[in-house]
């Protein structure tokens, strides 16, 4: 279970997150909703460790996340998908997917890869292409797949449905639903509930860096 308590985050002396507190029980999906610039990305990055938390605590399954470097958090089973995709352009799609597995020296890399392909079969079609060659939406799919490679306990997906064709987005919603059944916790950000409405257990509304929870 993820527990964020009174977290403040400032970037270059500007406070972005204000005393954010939230809880996410294991196996539940939260939708992080807010306007542009509300702080969704900032919150995700803070949980992942890419931004420095100036005050407060973040705990995950009893461990103090703030005490661990970013790569250690990833190796705890937290998967992160940045909103701007950020694939490695010179690696093939398949290699891009495998990066988290290689980094953590996971023994079951092949099995995980296969699982990702099963969840999002489209990726398999362009697996041998380089990261920079695929279209924007395709990159998005790969980024989601990459987060799934190491994220087997908690997924942080930043705007996963943006730029994804509606037909495919519906499918992804189903995928997410299945993962939830397997006991995965998840935070998805979206500006509204357009896609995630049907599957989220709780909604975290964020506005100007402050959150309020709705169930």
């Amino acid at each position: 279970m993820l527990r964020v308590e009174g977290v403040d985050v400032s970037i270059q002396a500007v406070q972005i997150l204000r005393s954010v507190t939230l809880e996410l029980p294991t196996g539940s999906v939260a939708g992080l909703i807010g306007r542009n610039g509300a702080g969704k990305t900032t919150l995700m990055k803070s949980i992942m460790g890419l931004l420095k938390v100036s005050r407060g605590a973040i705990g995950f399954d009893g461990a103090d996340l703030l005490a661990r470097p970013v790569h250690a958090r990833a190796r705890m089973g937290i998967g992160y998908m940045p909103e701007d995709r950020r694939l490695i352009p010179d690696l093939t799609v398949q290699e891009n997917l495998l990066v988290p597995a290689w980094a953590a020296k996971l023994p079951d890399a092949a099995a995980r890869l296969e699982k990702v392909y099963q969840l999002i079969p489209e990726i398999r079609h362009f697996a041998p292409r380089k990261g920079l060659q695929i279209s924007g939406g395709q990159q998005k799919l790969v980024a989601i797949g990459r987060a799934l490679m190491c994220g087997d306990r908690l997924l942080l997906l930043d705007e996963p449905f943006e730029g994804v064709a509606p037909a495919l987005a519906h499918r992804l919603v189903e995928v997410v639903g299945n993962l939830k059944k397997e006991g995965m916790s998840m935070i998805l950000s979206e500006s509204d509930l357009q896609h995630s409405e049907r599957m989220v257990d709780r909604i975290i509304v964020i506005d100007r860096g402050a959150v309020s929870m709705k169930n």
């Binding site: 490695i88 352009p89 990066v99 988290p100 980094a103």
Partner: protein, 298 residues
């Protein structure tokens, strides 16, 4: 014919030297985007350490055959002591800065290390000539070459092949690519970026130090030894295409052969032939021989 053979042999020997001296630079630039001027200092330090340590041991009665191992050991010593120190102590705080700024930092380091060398070893030359003649020599085309030159070629091939294998065939190589491109995402994917940087820098420095250590037996180890190496290495690396290992190898071979041919047939032009080669290659392949101009996806 006889002269042609000499051209090729001389060219290959020079290429081998050039490659060992330059390849670490490619590695560090390719991975960390640092044009490391202090590369020359590591080269010089490797040479000094090799000459003084091997010299002392030989004087103390070490069997001469062991001196080759000592050369390698000296290079390792330099890299393992200084590489992590510089990377962890200074460079890592600078990664967010512009490429040129880091270049200047390495330049400042180079200035400092020049004087450190002087403070440790003084300005008098050091020699460790034993290993050069120890293995005897062979004759081709009416010319004599010490076998030691083959060791140099061997070292070059070993370094090149080992690195190439690591970078293109192993997961580590792929992860390096990820680190090169995007440290933030790499971290989020579970890569220990700091360790990658430290190891890469140390390893690149080690290659420079090996270059210096194995050159030491053929030269006099004096202040300023590392200066020439810097620009030569840059030239080789750029001709080949930055960060490309086969590129660096090919660049070294081209420069080596062209230089040797020039010396044999047109000695007056030796002074700028390397730069001419570089300008010509870049004129036709603006990003070096082995760098593909890939269109960015928009």
């Amino acid at each position: 014919m006889q002269q042609l053979v000499a051209v090729v042999i001389d060219g290959i020997i020079y290429s081998a030297w050039l490659f060992v001296a330059a390849v670490g630079l490619t590695l560090i630039y390719g991975v960390m985007k640092i044009l490391n001027v202090a590369h020359g200092s590591f080269y010089a330090l490797g040479a000094y350490a090799a000459a003084s340590i091997a010299g002392a041991l030989l004087a103390g009665g070490m069997p001469p055959m062991l001196s080759y191992a000592v050369l390698l050991g000296a290079a390792l010593l330099v890299a393992i002591v200084l590489g992590p120190l510089i990377e962890r102590g200074i460079l890592r705080f600078m990664y967010a800065r512009d490429e040129v700024v880091i270049l200047l930092i390495t330049y400042a380091l180079f200035l400092i290390l020049e004087d450190v060398i002087k403070l440790i070893w003084g300005v008098d030359p050091y020699f460790i000539a034993e290993p050069y003649g120890l293995l005897g020599s062979f004759d081709v085309a009416d010319l004599t070459y010490p076998y030691y030159n083959l060791i140099l070629v061997g070292v070059a091939i070993a370094c090149g092949a080992g690195l190439a294998w690591t970078l293109t065939r192993t997961k580590t190589g792929k992860l390096l690519l990820a680190v090169i491109h995007d440290t933030e995402v790499s971290r989020a994917m579970g890569i220990n970026v700091g360790r990658f940087y430290m190891v890469t820098f140390t390893f690149g420095s080690l290659l420079a130090a090996i270059g210096g250590a194995f050159t030491a037996p053929t030269v006099s180890v004096v202040p300023g030894l590392g200066v020439e190496v810097i620009v030569l290495s840059f030239a080789v690396v750029v001709i080949g295409g930055l960060g490309s290992l086969p590129g660096a190898a090919l660049g070294a071979v081209i420069v080596g052969l062209v230089r040797s041919a020039t010396i044999h047939y047109l000695p007056q032009a030796e002074l700028f032939v390397i730069y001419l080669v570089m300008a010509m290659v870049l004129a036709f392949r603006p990003r070096g021989l082995f760098m593909l101009a890939e269109a960015r996806k928009i």
